[in-house]
């Protein structure tokens, strides 16, 4: 198969990605972690600021995973192609 996708991402990469994504999901799935009022941050109870901070945290975790899984674009595709497609 012409699998351009991930020609050999190592198990370590996949393991890291899995751990990061599971952490991202568990962060708000485990409600007891943050179902409390204190400590407050700028008058916000912990319950609220924790979740709001978890939003950019998830974004960063997903971005790291994206970078880890990113595939090289055009160049190797051109090579594989043998130049038979106008690019």
């Amino acid at each position: 198969m012409a699998q351009r996708a991930r020609p050999g991402k190592s198990p370590a990469v996949w393991g890291t990605v899995t751990v990061l994504l599971v952490v991202a999901i568990l962060g708000t799935l485990l409600v007891p972690i943050y179902a409390r009022t204190l400590p407050e941050l700028g008058n916000f109870p912990f319950f609220y600021w924790f979740q709001l901070i978890w939003v950019p945290t998830t974004a960063v975790l997903c971005w790291i995973c994206y970078l880890l899984l990113k595939t090289k674009p055009a160049p190797d595709a051109g090579l594989r192609n043998g130049g038979d497609v106008r690019r």
Binding site: M1, A2, Q3, R4, A5, R6, L21, V22, A24, I25, G27, T28, L29, L30, V31, P32, A35, R36, T37, G42, N43, F44, P45, F46, F47, Y48, Q51, L52, W54, V55, P56, T58, A59, V60, L61, C62, W63, C65, Y66, L69, K70, T71, A74, A77, R80, N81, D84, V85, R86, R87
Partner: protein, 620 residues
Amino acid sequence: MSHLNAVSTLMVAGSFLIVTLIGFASARWRPAEDLLQLNEWGLGGRGFGTFVSWFLLGGDIYTAYTFIAVPALVYATGAAGFYALSYTIMVFPIVFIFAPRLWSVARAHGYVTPGEFVRGRKGSQGLGLAVAATGILATMPYIALQLVGIESVLTVMGIGSTSGNVFVRDLPLIIAFAVVAGYTYMAGLRAPALIAFVKDILIYVTVIVAILYIPSRIGGWGHIFGAASAHLKTVNPATHKPYGSIVVLPAGEWAYATLALGSALALFVYPHASTGVFAAKRRDVIRRNAAMLPAYTLVLGLIALFGYMARAVPAVNAGVKADGNNPQLSVPLLFAHMFPSWFAGIGYSAIVVGALVPAAIMSIAAANLFTRTIYKELLKPDATPAQETRVARVASLVMKIGALGFALELNKTFSINLQLLGGIWILQTFPAIVISLYTRWFHRSALIFGWAVGMAYGTVQAYRTSGGGQAHFGASAAPVFGHITYIGISALILNVAVAAVLTVIFNRVGVTDGYDQTRPADYRADPVPVPAAANATTRVPFNRRRPGPSAGRAGAPAGGSASSPPWERADSAVADSAADRAADAPAAPAAPAPAAAPGTVPGPRSPAAPSGHHRAKHAR
């Protein structure tokens, strides 16, 4: 509020006009070689990059109803309403995991809807139909709720609501929907994709200004949380319990977590979400967006806090009470009392335009489902792409009219109940769609039984749950083994359990399983997009095994199937070699070539789908 505010009304009318112009003009945006391809109308040509996809998916997930209902829930019950924030946080890691696989297999096989994927993966027409029907059923009330969102804005603006005449009262809503239906019909998915830009500018401006300005006017966050906490502690005379709590109580934690998780899993299988995913140009676009879409989640979290702000403004509380205790009005009322009327107009526009975008995407998604899984599968297997597109366009109109009927004819509570049921129902397609992305272990018939049991259990359970002054459909969570659990999740667990047990039984007994059209590599396929210039003439999804840049088109006469993109053409082309035919010999006897492709040359096939599994698809 009963008198019309001219400035606000003018602002809303103006933005509606701008959006309408953009909607109709979008038909000419990135002109398709042939708008009569379902790919073009229904998926915007599958050509949206990171930037456009971000707006489109954002328009998909964060609907007007979210912007009205989430703060309304927070206004009424406090912390419990914040499950929506938790849900939109965890939805993106989930999308990151599943969506690229679905995108790849859809691209490899030209699937436009998840229903087709299930049909192809499990070789089961029945299961594909079940998925499609569930999707359409769940989407209709969702569209209707967008209208409910618009309605609450119109009520606060004083438009229509003062008239005793039903027709006059609903006229603005009917006009708005007729216009949306018009440009959706014309431009397909391109219209909401472009309008989403306007929607987001309006929403971001409104939210940023509101979050910076309102707290300083009403005494700061300390006062806001204090007022909310004081209200939530008071005992509700109807239930003899406090209205809610400022932090989720231990007893409510399980419900909070399952609601968030269930909604996140459900979102991914809603047809409109997969439409947004399928429209992406590249596999990477989806992952990149999973990291960028949380920007909307932040906005949603801030909007949820509007509920508390509204609680801290006595005039809003009075207004909500005056309208029969309708918390849905809390956000529009907050705008009305806190902002000068011109900026309140911008806030209203944000909600109204925010309703139009998802309504358009949802009706397109449902129309695609109908066309590919019901029309082409059952009614007219030899439909040409042009016929498909025509049917889809009409179906999108029907969906809109149906939703309008829902919103106008049935009472609001009924729409909300149906939406609640829709979430539970759509979650029952999760095993067929998402689990199938990873394994074909489940037997096709077992999945159908699991689905049916989940649907029945979810519906009955939701019916039996009282709450909020309703005897039935009062809440989306019900106790299971002593824990209050989101019904969608308990039904899903039952669904999977039934499917697993029956799979073992069916395999033991030897019930024939379906033929799987897909190959493992299809789930990782990452077609190379063609540079923009070439894109205008040929969309080449895969670069391997392609004899030349335009070989496929050279001999093809102009017309529907000839100008279809190669991966679509492979579906109908008489292109399979004898070797391919041999590959799927046992389960899918070589079917006669479909009659639908008279002008198609044995041109390039989708290399990501090298064996003859397309043939099985056309044995239908």
